[in-house]
Symmetry: C2
Subunit: 923 residues, 2 copies
């Protein structure tokens, strides 16, 4: 196990770990301040550890010639020195700060604290890793009682100046000096009352001036000193506050919980303020270098004249499209277009930029890689390769593998959704979108959908009994259960939209209605589900049907060229199998046989089997199921001809097949001609306190070997039938829930005997190669995998159950505490969505090595939900599995993720080689 | 992990493993036959691998001069040679057999196949390890149509001779030649019909002679040959059959399932027959060298004149006490007394012997270490040390640690039990014995027992709600649940008798009655439970109260001198703590705090807390619980003064504290002044699909930190209160169900903060050392124990839950399949009773090493049920835990088991040293 752990740790937070050998400088005089500006820029993008992420970004933009408001960054090592001196700034720092401010004054032609043309700055913390719990921004620093007058006369806007000042006093008092924000709020309320207005923005300049006086009084009262009128005093206090905040309990706790170690401190960024609200020659905007929605290669954005950055975001005024700038200020627009080109060339990706024009001067405030839709991501990546901006590998790495599932499913546009109201939000359990009337039972869903209606199935939770109804519904909505509840897992398997665990729903199955916050919807009302966001929307929404682009096809072709890992699918029907094959599946990694028992008449035979109290009657009922199973398998083998199909023998506990309510039990009793009491007794006898840890999986085959025999016989007969039609069927028999070697040895013998008997009975003399293996989903099987492998041809990791048992988390009950665990950062992520590398992953890694130690040629795969999760796929690639298996709609995601993993691994190897070579050269 | 595995494997079946490097001899001429008899004895006790267990025992008895009927053993290597030659006896074997038979003829003055004085022999298989599936015994071999006449005239008992012959034909036909036994049975039936008798024994000699003819016809018909009249042909066929049976599918399967490898074959034992039914000068008997019931040092046994061994066992005739032999044949009696002395001196233990007197000659047929009661075991062991027969170490090893719990609990004698009938049998869940009237709910049990009645609590299963009722009942009987169900665990903790999982019970709680196989018992009827056997007995049985013998005290003193492992106890009350301390507990390893919430008013406050929907109300309810908790802890600290007390914070899911039925819910609603619906809703909201994997343990502390705070406060306040009274309280705070390092880090901080706050509030300025640690019961915590140990002062392995999750077995549901698993030998034993060394043990071993790698001084213990199981204790000793913790009544068992483990480890080390020394000498 240690091997995986080390590897894993080094893959996480590499930035932070790399510095762990660094120690804080003692008294060596190293540079404490890194400038960025017209006359001098010291830092660059790779220096995140020394000058923080924000500082590095500002320096980089400046150094490639973008018009960034000048500023400087105080290093993280200075923070360490501050700590080492018991909270005192290092000697000489403030002198260097003064020198730097003087540079800013020169570059801006302004003066710090001036009463005519004051230089204002912002102060922000910025560590190598983004980290909540540290000090927030302080804006407008440098304003004083006199400078505010200067700002007012300079801008000709008194209101603007006093508003800026009152914000500074408030922020400085609160953030730097620890005065409770409420004291300031209370004063503001009084002033508003005085002017009989309710909005901040309606208070006139005069009122804001008065407010500044009141704020200063509040400040004096709680701080015990006057608000500092020396801007350098303001600046020093703000710098000290940022450094202190590095050691704030909240920040320390955050680093502890997230195991962020090796960082020496935070940097401080001091930057000149610019204002887009200084008149009609000023403005502010945001833009993307390409359309982030479609990926089209055209400049895309919007701007507002005489406004601040917040105004664009807040949406109070309606901004103009960026093309409108051409008229307003053609020169600035030309500059922007130039910057667009420079940025794409420099960053080699679409950029999302923020800019401000202060009195005709364009300033870049931010650039970052632009967020984009999945469709845009694919198009941009492929087109940038054609434009020779990036390589194929880079293109593949740049498309988030998780997102491309969106391209395969129907969706609602944001515009369409705006037309309706959001009723409540659940978990985005299975992407896609659907509108329909409400059905409250599976039976109802089947009937109404067969009558031509589009229905949503609305249930507290679903169980295998509901599967047929779920299949007929256009979407599924549940009030309990998490991302890996039954409803979620089944729906994802089908690519059907599902919103799960919408806790606000009060479902009244009997009266066929659902209530949310007092409002009620009945069976004829229509709701819409957005499975990608978890939104439940009131009324019908028109959705769009997916269309695969040529760029998508290109990208997938590239992915296949780069990956090592094979991708199979989890599919239980010929239709799903075919679809998955169309999406590029290279076999089936998991065919669940239990769903097959719910359709039509089969469930009655299944129930008859379960109610039988002797082996003869059980075999009689099983004989009825045999032809169905054989036909199912034949269909799947045909759809997957030439490709392997892993069939899992019966897994769920038998009680899942029996009706739980009295009425259905009576129906069943009648249908089978037994007493109702007998049905009820059997249901009671099968009841389990913890079904997840109960009588299921291979334990059923141990106690009822006749079930195993029937299923194996069906597989073999279907295989022989295919062979006769010259269809190459390649089944693999998978025995679930194995915990010990003896268990598998015994059941393997039974499977082999049944294969031999079936061949003999069918007089088939050819060779049938049917690998027999097991799921590794019980921790004990993983721990003792060396022994288990002696009798297994393959392992397929069932990481869902392995996660359940390794953590002791029931998927169905995890919602009781998971939100708190994520919120308090005890867990980084839901371990059912992405594999827990340290714990569950260590078990997988151990099982792989142990299994190979006794059977070097053992075939290894994974068929849990994690098989479709990119982060997990990277892990599985690294530990050396042969394939992952996932639901049909996630097959393209898995193909892409596998390619990304392979590329990253090659890059890491190349990196190591380079280091080795350069070291060798040095010798 | 591999380290443990190797160690474990080598500890099991050492005999068999040792031979794995041995290969079958090819054509070297090695000795194939080992003789035992007056004139020659080749083998001895240590040669089990070569001549099998039975052969070694016969040789040993012969060589120490006991009158054993002479015989010889064909080696296991001969069996291997037989296999290697494709089922042919090695050249020369039958010549050697003839030589050996001639020796027998000489020694017995009889002749093989003689028609006047025939030598008869038995043929038996015998491998190094006892193994079902191989060939059974063949008796009377050597009889032929002529020899039978010789036997008749020799014995003067025609009936005896023909009966012996018909038995031989039947056994030989069935066992050697594979003729179905039923064909012989059918002929016997016809003969009985002819003589109009129903018992075999009523058929006269003439009828048996006729039967022999018919048997021979059956033989000829099915074998195709006549029954062999050459005794050597009989013997050769029997030897071949024994060798063939080594490869019988049943025998191979048995070896595979039990992982018996390295054995080359079975031996064959050929031994002269002797008969105790040859007249009034003949007889047979069984005896113990000391009283196996009390251990008293006197000869103890019984015998029958003119009878066969089976007759004594069958109990058709009543045997006389062995002292009666003095009159019957003083000489033989004197011989027996001599043999008694010889045997004890030679085997250094009490022997259980079988003997036969054939016409005045005494023959020893068997000697083995005698089975004995726990009381006898203790007395014999201690007395034998005083007699200088054995050492202290040997005495300690000789008493089965598991059995001594019987000495501490009331019991029914076999004689007492014979007076009543056994109604049904459940699992022997908690030893002891009790009689009482039946109570069907916990409330009823409390009321009636308070009114002075002795009641048994009869439930389908129990839950924490029933704890008070269980405590008041004299015994507990359940119809479902296994050895580690709630009822079983709680009862064992108290040393209270419990029979669990008695599936035949149909309990009707409403009508207050229980039905078994159609018979019904009501609430005034009396049943008795034997918790040591699982018997449910009809009516009252007088039990005996335990009395500790001086030998017991001596043995325990010796045990303490030899053990390394400390022994703590699991106790939740001052009374249990005190009792455990009297039994020698050196601290408390587990105080469960949840049971404390069920008593009296507390449950109402607890329920109020659970029903609160905001933190304020929860804290208000918790404030009511605080004084109770503090008082509980104070009591326990006092009882354990000076010794460590590990307190586990709240563990079970909250729904276990709420009433589940409508009526009780209504009562609760009234008591709390809330709506009934509110109670029902909360119960529903708390319902979980798999509570074992749900919202419990430290997960409660994460979501409701106020519960943790209240409990920690109670602990600290109790500690301070003790300190003021100069009582040394040594609490250790244990956080249950930890799965990740972050979880423990966060909760540890909370505990530390609460300790500090409580100290401050109480103005206590002294030092309080309270170690904070966790249970390791989640597989993930074991896997990542290196990280967890960074924030844990101690680990206490909760091997119950660790077993549940490592195997994926719910303790409450395991009965659905465990019987099949044990029956089919997939599991050697219930992993909840004795730790699964390969799987769960590997996790424990890994966690120990990983934990010590980051915190070398981490304190390690175990508090699961396994802490009282001797085999598990040996494992825990080996992996280096500091202590085990078990229920009070198992403390002496654990002390003894710990001593045994330490002694065995020392012996193994000494063995290794010797080997090393002797190897060194050879060089």
């Amino acid at each position: 196990m240690p091997a995986t752990k080390t590897r894993k740790r080094s893959s996480r937070k590499t930035t932070t770990r790399r510095t762990s050998r660094r120690t804080a400088p003692k008294s060596r005089t190293t540079r404490m301040i890194y400038a960025f500006g017209r006359t001098r820029t010291d830092g660059h993008a790779s220096q995140r550890e020394l000058i923080g992420g924000k500082g590095a970004n500002l320096a980089e933009m400046t150094s490639i010639g973008l018009p960034v408001p000048p500023g400087f960054t105080i290093t993280t090592e200075t923070c360490a020195a501050f700590d080492a001196r018991g909270g005192k700034l290092p000697t000489g720092l403030m002198d260097e700060v003064r020198t730097s401010v003087r540079r800013l004054e020169r570059e801006t032609d302004k003066e710090f604290g001036s009463d005519t043309n004051p230089l204002l700055v912002s102060v922000r913390s910025g560590a190598a890793v983004s980290m909540p719990g540290m000090m927030d921004t302080i804006l407008n620093l440098g304003l004083t009682d006199t400078a505010v007058e200067g700002l007012a006369s300079l801008t000709g806007n008194e209101r603007f100046a006093w508003d800026a000042y009152r914000r500074l006093i408030n922020m400085f008092g609160d953030v730097v000096m620890g005065v409770d924000h409420h004291y300031f709020e209370a004063e503001f309320d009084k002033v508003k009352k005085k002017y009989k207005v309710s909005e901040d923005t309606d208070v006139p300049a005069e009122g804001l001036r008065m407010l500044c006086d009141r704020y200063k009084k509040v400040y004096r009262k709680h701080v015990g000193k006057n608000f500092p009128q020396d801007p350098y005093k303001q600046l020093q206090a703000a710098i000290e506050a940022v450094f202190r905040s590095w050691r704030a309990p909240k920040a320390i706790a955050y680093r502890q919980i997230n195991e962020i170690t090796g960082l020496v401190g935070t940097a401080v960024n001091v930057q000149t303020m610019v204002f887009g609200n200084m008149g009609d020659d000023s403005g502010t905007g945001v833009a993307f270098t390409r359309d982030p929605s479609t990926g089209k290669n055209e400049f895309y954005g919007e701007f507002l004249v005489n406004a601040q950055g917040e105004d664009v975001v807040a949406g109070i005024r309606t901004p103009q499209p960026v093309i409108g700038m051409k008229k307003w200020n053609a020169d600035v627009y030309r500059q922007l277009l130039g910057i667009r080109k420079t940025l794409e060339k420099h960053y080699r990706d679409v950029q999302d930029i923020e800019f401000t024009i202060e009195r005709g001067h364009l300033y870049m405030l931010q650039t970052r890689n632009g967020k984009r839709t999945a469709a845009a991501a694919v198009r941009i990546a492929v087109e940038m390769v054609k434009e020779r901006l990036i390589t194929q590998e880079e293109a593949l790495l740049r498309v988030p593998a998780n997102d491309i599932v969106q391209l395969l499913l129907p969706s609602f546009s944001a515009a369409d959704k705006k037309k309706v109201t959001c009723v409540t939000k659940g978990l985005p359990a299975s992407p896609g979108a659907a509108s329909g009337a409400l059905a409250f039972t599976a039976e109802e869903a089947v009937e109404r959908s067969q009558a031509g209606e589009n229905v949503l199935l609305v249930r507290r939770e679903t169980s295998p009994e509901d599967v047929e109804g779920m299949h007929h519904a256009v979407g599924i909505l549940t009030s309990t259960g998490g991302m890996t509840s039954h409803a979620a897992v089944v729906a994802r398997g089908w690519g059907k939209c599902c919103v799960a665990g919408a806790g606000a729903l009060e479902i009244d199955e009997r009266r066929r209605r659902v209530t949310v916050n007092g409002r009620t919807w009945g069976s004829t009302d229509i709701l819409s589900l957005d499975g990608g966001t978890g939104e439940v929307l009131d009324g019908a929404v028109t959705g769009s049907v997916p269309k695969m682009s040529s760029e998508f096809t290109t990208l997938m072709r590239w992915a296949d060229r780069h990956r090592r890992l094979k991708v199979r699918t989890n599919a239980d029907t010929p239709a799903d199998s075919k679809r998955a094959r169309d999406f590029g599946a290279e076999g089936i990694g998991l065919t669940r046989t239990e769903h097959m028992f719910f359709e039509g008449d089969r469930i009655t035979a299944m129930r008859e089997m379960i109610l039988a109290d002797n082996i003869k009657d059980r075999e009689k009922a099983l004989a009825k199921l045999l032809p169905y199973q054989r036909k199912d398998f034949e269909g799947i083998f045909k759809a997957m001809k030439g490709l392997p199909v892993t069939v899992r023998l019966l897994d769920p506990p038998l009680h899942e097949f029996l009706p739980q309510d009295a009425e259905s039990q009576e129906d069943l009793a009648k249908a089978l001609g037994v007493k109702r009491k007998a049905v009820r007794r059997r249901v009671e006898a099968l009841h389990e306190a913890n079904p997840m840890l109960g009588h299921r999986g291979c334990r059923l085959a141990v106690t009822y070997p006749e079930i195993l025999r029937m299923q194996v016989r069906a597989i073999v007969e279907a295989m022989i039938a295919c062979r006769k039609k010259s269809i190459q069927a390649k089944p693999e028999i998978m025995i679930p829930l194995i915990g010990t070697r003896a268990e598998l040895a015994m059941l393997r013998t039974q499977v082999e005997e049944t294969i031999a008997k079936t061949k003999a009975a069918r007089k088939f003399t050819g060779r049938l190669d049917i690998p027999i293996g097991t799921m590794i989903e019980i921790p004990r099987a993983a721990v003792t995998a060396d022994a288990v492998a002696e009798v297994a041809d393959f392992f397929s990791f069932g990481t869902n159950d392995l996660t359940q048992m390794a953590f002791g988390y029931s998927r169905d009950d995890i919602n009781g505490f998971l939100p708190d665990y994520l919120h308090q950062a005890i867990l980084e992520k839901d371990p059912f969505q992405s594999i827990d590398v340290d714990g569950v992953g260590a078990l997988v890694d151990h099982a792989v090595k142990a299994g190979q130690s006794t059977r070097p040629d053992i075939k290894l795969g994974v068929c849990g939900e994690h098989g479709g999760d990119p982060a997990s796929i990277e892990f599985f690639d690294r530990v050396g599995l042969e394939y992952v298996s996932c639901s049909p709609f996630r097959v393209p995601t898995a193909r892409l993720a596998a390619a990304q993993s392979a590329i990253r691994a090659r890059q890491a190897d190349a990196g190591k080689r380079t280091t080795r070579t350069s070291r060798a050269r040095k010798r």
